[in-house]
């Protein structure tokens, strides 16, 4: 009995501080935001709290908010797809074809930029993509006589910057699932006469689904919530739902609307995750 109560105290003392901190700084704020999204006004000045659905209604009645949400989802889709197309082959080569120290070194090189400041990396693209910037000059070196390439303030610039920011996630998650594939499985397929294309489509890709799915979620969710990347690389064309949410807090001080839009965004994320979960579960349980 005494041991049991000592055990409980130990658990409480060890986990208490960390979770108290998380409660105060993550879960309480999210609750406060949820509360205010159902209020008529934000916490400015003295006025009685008044329940209101008008900020949620705003989303469903104002077409431009829906358009921006759609634009963000589209952006998330494009970035995720490009990360798969670029990242999967790279992860495959790294995981299955390169061995030893080289593999470790290359892997580290790929994840390293991830931990340099995201803002700084977006900033670096504004310098690369500007007219007469590095890209412009490089292209003209190869093909002289082309008109000036100016990607400043364009959708393409936003996509390039975001793919650059999130590509390491896809390579990392695909690498982990590809690395785990048993070589003898592939040898068995080969000895039974399977072509390399068949092996890729029927064995490797299905076994890599958990990695692809994890990478996609890790990329899609932050991309649809991004705001400074579209703002810096897209300029006036970079308005997405993320920048609108940001403006509710930094410019127009309409916190309840910002909160309502945030929770609609979270709800959409959860719906997408729920829709994807049968696929995920099926593949997770087989591996």
């Amino acid at each position: 009995m005494r041991i049991e109560s000592r055990r409980r105290w130990a658990i409480a003392w060890l986990t208490g501080p960390a979770y108290l901190w998380l409660a105060v700084t993550i879960f309480l704020p999210l609750s406060a935001m949820l509360y205010f999204s159902f209020q008529k006004k934000g916490p400015f000045g003295r006025h009685a709290s008044e329940f209101s659905l008008k900020h949620y209604e705003a989303f469903f009645t104002k077409g431009y908010l829906q358009d921006l949400m759609w634009r963000s989802l589209e952006m998330g889709f494009h970035v995720t797809l490009l990360c798969i197309l670029i990242g999967f082959p790279a992860a495959y080569w790294l995981a299955r074809r390169i061995r030893g120290r080289w593999r470790e070194a290359l892997f580290l090189l790929i994840v390293l930029p991830f931990w340099s400041n995201a803002l700084v990396r977006i900033f670096s693209w504004t310098i690369v993509l500007r007219p007469d910037g590095v890209l412009d000059r490089a292209v003209h070196l190869v093909i002289p006589g082309l008109p000036t390439i100016d990607l400043t303030d364009s959708y393409a610039a936003i996509i390039i910057g975001l793919v650059h920011s999130y590509l390491p996630y896809m390579i990392l998650t695909c690498f982990l699932s590809l690395q785990a594939i048993d070589e003898s499985l592939l040898e068995a397929a080969r000895s039974l006469g399977a072509r390399s294309w068949t092996i890729l489509a029927r064995i490797i890709l299905p076994l890599a689904v958990p990695g692809l799915a994890a990478g996609s979620i890790l990329i899609f969710v932050p991309v649809i919530g991004s705001f400074f990347e579209p703002r810096l690389l897209g300029g006036p064309k970079g308005t997405v739902i993320g920048t609108v949410i940001e403006e509710q807090f930094t410019v127009v001080s309409n916190w309840p609307l910002g909160g309502a839009l945030s929770f609609i965004l979270l709800a959409i994320v959860l719906l997408i995750l729920a829709a994807a979960s049968p696929v995920l579960k099926k593949h997770m349980s087989t591996t």
Binding site: L14, P43, I86, L167, S262
Partner: protein, 266 residues
């Protein structure tokens, strides 16, 4: 036979070329950024003329210096708090099986997966509402929250690879729980703890979104200062300070990599 060998060689070449292009894509902008910080032209024009004047200008830029001091101070405090609290929680998860353990571990995912935009604005709402307010203390509150899950996961991974046997051996040899913790377990956990600390430092030092919403006018940290410089029109001075930031956080990650799973011992 010959054709088959050619196919293998071609695909080998294509795979390596692809990896090379991916690395080029990842590093090219960072290299351009660093090089332009050493170029004399304010308008980032070539030809390249070497200068260190942007770095010298940094030394006289009070705002950036103050922001750097703030950044380092917040990151160090964050490292200390997050590593301590996170290690404690990781110890509890490794040592005890208790009701609610899985639930507590699942609670680590929202801070990692919910977009920072939403977490940052929520913090702004609560801190303003309760009178905690904005400022370095508010940023510290936020950074620790973001670092904790990573610390718990990194230290937890180390503890899982050690297993409970060492602690049991120490106990059976008559060590008190405290002796066992300080003399046996903490030394073995040390690489994991140091790795987690470096990770926590990088999380805070690189954090922009949370700091952006919690920075009152006049008080800022490096990323916030860089953001406002980019929006107001910038000079290669921003490249110089950005390069320094990248070097600092990449060094932290390289040390982290040595200490965690990439190291020689496994």
């Amino acid at each position: 036979m010959n054709q088959a060998r050619w196919m293998v060689l071609a695909s080998e070449g294509a795979g390596r070329l692809w990896l090379f292009l991916v690395l080029l894509f990842l590093y090219l902008p960072i290299l351009v950024l660093a090089v332009m910080g050493l170029n004399d032209s304010v308008h980032y024009t070539l030809p390249f003329t070497f200068t260190t004047r942007w770095y010298e200008d940094l030394a006289g830029n009070e705002r950036l210096l103050q922001a750097s001091v703030n950044s380092v101070a917040v990151a160090l405090a964050n490292t200390l708090i997050a590593t301590t609290l996170g290690t404690m929680a990781a110890l509890a998860f490794a040592r005890y099986r208790f009701r609610g353990r899985t639930a507590l571990q699942l609670l680590l995912f929202p801070p990692i997966t919910i977009p920072w935009l939403i977490i940052g604005t929520s913090m702004l709402v609560l801190f303003f509402w309760t009178g905690i307010g904005r400022g370095l203390h508010a940023m510290l509150l936020g950074h620790v929250a973001l670092s904790l899950p990573y610390v718990i996961i990194v230290v937890g991974a180390r503890l899982a690879s050690i297993g409970p046997e060492l602690g049991e051996a120490a106990a059976s040899l008559g060590a008190t729980p405290f002796q066992s913790l300080v003399r046996v377990q903490l030394p073995v956990m040390a690489p994991g703890i140091v790795a987690a600390a470096l990770f926590a430092f990088a999380v805070s030092f690189d954090q922009f979104v949370i700091s952006y919403f919690l920075a009152p006018p006049g008080v800022s940290v490096l990323p916030v200062e860089i953001f406002s410089a980019i929006r107001k029109g910038f000079t290669p001075e921003v490249n110089a300070i950005s390069t320094i930031m990248i070097v600092v956080s990449m060094t932290a990650l390289l040390l982290f990599a040595r200490l965690s799973k990439f190291g020689g011992e496994r």
